[in-house]
């Protein structure tokens, strides 16, 4: 692959639009970082992967009803709300 860092595709994945200037600027910066990250190649690795830095196993939440935030309180400061719903454009087209 000639250019593995396809910045336009990644911007789309990130749901961000880049200006042409940002695309021109970010591409070499991020490629430079990936070059720097090649330092990883020298390490002789075990299979173990640390998802948590502590030795604890992350617990599952208990399957029980808990009181959440007051809906009215949460929604009252949001301007895109109506009758306890968030208003937004139709997602599924007719």
């Amino acid at each position: 692959m000639k250019n593995k860092f396809d910045i336009e595709r990644l911007a789309k994945l990130s749901r961000i639009e880049l200006t042409p200037e940002e695309t021109t600027k970010f591409q070499p910066e991020l490629e430079r970082f990936l070059e720097f990250a090649k330092c990883m190649d020298k390490y002789d690795l075990k299979e173990e992967v640390a998802d948590s830095v502590t030795d604890n196993t992350l617990p599952f939440n208990k399957d029980q009803h808990v009181v959440s935030l007051d809906h009215h309180q949460v929604l009252k400061s949001e301007s895109h709300c109506s009758q306890n719903y968030f208003k937004l454009p139709r997602v599924v087209k007719k």
Binding site: L10, S14, R32, F33, A37, Y43, L45, K46, E78, L88
Partner: protein
């Protein structure tokens, strides 16, 4: 006015809590205007809290933090206050709940004065990436206050506030503390709840205090730490009891690339420590590589954490769009600054099909190695001494054009977040142009008490001139 918590308690006894607080805030607005460390300040909210505090004290409540003025980094939620994360994405957003640390500090009688400026979503090392503008260093206003908790450090260093809260994902408490000449502590990962902290890197973030002395760090940490079942990574802080430290001092190779003043300061402290304590010389050969590992993991995590900012339920929503997908893209494009966009894009690359094993998985494997290396170096009772930063505070604008240069300035801080160990930065001296020089002390996981007590004892024995 710089005061300790102990001095404040005496003042409250002598002249009441209202006068103590207002005396402490006498220069607040001027300092905030000059240094730009505040994102939100409302006198009415301060007055409400003073009135509440007076009632509680009259009712006989024991409030160890009564009279202490606290600033809070603007990524930590206080109910009814704005939480912007210094981003256009969240400008105007009002928090609907208190973070766990805020709840704990409220119980102890703390009074919250302001939300403090920061790099956007905690991404940065200079507080130049803020929608509210740059924070200036009180020691030299042509220089940065460090980041991302630049506002928190500047507010305390200037004497405008007694203490502040920051968050530390790759050095964001310790480095600004060093740049501004104050104390900053990153606790052991898991000991301070992240409930109510807007996430940047979930396996790296910790909230910690910034103060003018080591005793206040200890007081605040004892109040803020503790198990919280709302944070799945929270652990009960059962600190290991250790007594006599062995100080691990860096060899010459591990100081390569540091500013001359930083090296001289380090050597001066190392010599004093050798006179008073048991020491050993060590090499940290993984420091530079830890920057790559950190940015691979942190950007992967932040690309996921910031996916929730889509303009639908809260925060910035684009005003012109065609359809749902366009709403999301335009809201995010308009809401995020360039450094945030850069890191989200890198994070999505690191997690994308065909690359996640090569980059993200591999970075997590190397993280395990680094933790083992550092545990071997420290042993049971080791305390590692490093400079907090390879340079003192740099000029505003000096590093913004070169992200890699900015990332490399995190040389001595990011490895600590990767392994989850505690670290404290203390103001150790000044250079010839009176810029503060910080030193960092690091110990093993869950040895926070040992670390802080040892550093307190060390300061007493080894205090250098110029502080």
């Amino acid at each position: 006015m710089k005061r300790t918590i102990a001095e404040i308690a005496k003042s409250v006894e002598k002249q009441g809590v209202r006068k103590t607080i207002l005396d402490g805030l006498v220069d607040y607005e001027n300092q905030s205007k000059n240094l730009n460390f505040s994102t939100f300040y409302d006198k009415n909210k301060v007055e409400e809290q003073i009135a509440e505090l007076e009632k509680r004290l009259q009712a006989g409540e024991d409030l160890p933090l009564a009279g202490v003025t606290v600033g809070v980094k603007d990524n930590i939620q206080i109910k009814g206050w704005p939480t912007s994360c210094a981003s256009n994405m969240l400008k105007g957003y009002i928090s609907s709940f208190d973070a766990d640390v805020i709840e704990k500090l409220k119980v102890a009688g703390a009074i919250f004065i302001a939300k403090l400026n920061m790099d956007e979503f905690a991404m940065g090392s200079s507080t130049e990436h803020s929608c509210f503008g740059v924070v200036k260093n009180p020691a030299d206003t042509s220089r940065v206050a460090g980041g991302s908790s630049g506002g928190s450090a500047a507010a305390v260093a200037s004497g405008a506030l007694d203490v502040s809260l920051g968050s530390d994902t790759g050095g964001s408490i310790r480095q600004p503390a060093a740049f501004c000449g104050v104390y900053g502590f990153k606790p052991s990962y898991g000991t301070v709840s992240r409930h109510g902290l807007v996430s940047y890197g979930s396996s790296l973030d910790q909230i910690g205090p910034i103060t003018n002395n080591i005793n206040d760090i200890m007081v605040l940490h004892s109040i803020m730490s503790g198990y919280d079942d709302r944070d799945s990574t929270s652990i009960a802080s059962q600190y290991k009891q250790i007594h006599k430290p062995v100080y691990c001092l860096l060899d010459e190779a591990s100081l390569e690339g540091c500013d001359k003043d930083i090296i001289e300061n380090y050597q001066s402290w190392a010599n004093k420590i050798k006179e008073n304590f048991e020491t050993k010389t060590i090499n940290l050969d993984f420091l530079k590589d830890s920057i790559a590992i950190y940015y691979l993991i942190a950007t992967a995590e932040v690309s996921s954490n910031l996916a929730k900012f889509d303009g639908v339920r809260y925060g910035n929503r684009a005003t012109e769009f065609e359809g749902y997908e366009d709403l999301v893209v335009k809201s995010r494009t308009n809401g995020f600054g360039s450094e945030v966009k850069r890191r989200i894009i890198l994070g999505n690359f690191v997690l994308s099909a065909g690359y996640s094993d090569k980059y993200y998985k591999r970075a997590k494997q190397i993280r395990v190695l680094f933790k083992e290396k550092l545990q071997t170096i420290l042993g049971e009772n080791g305390i590692l001494l490093t400079p907090t930063s390879p340079t003192p505070a740099f000029k505003i604008g000096e590093n913004t054009g070169d992200p890699m240069k900015m990332y490399l300035s995190d040389l001595y801080t990011v490895f600590l977040n990767l392994v989850g160990f505690p670290g404290v930065s203390i103001p150790s001296s000044y250079n010839k142009t009176k810029l503060p020089l910080g030193l960092q002390f690091v110990s093993n996981h869950l040895t926070d008490d040992f670390l802080l007590k040892s550093v307190s004892e060390l300061e007493t024995k080894c205090i250098s001139g110029g502080k």
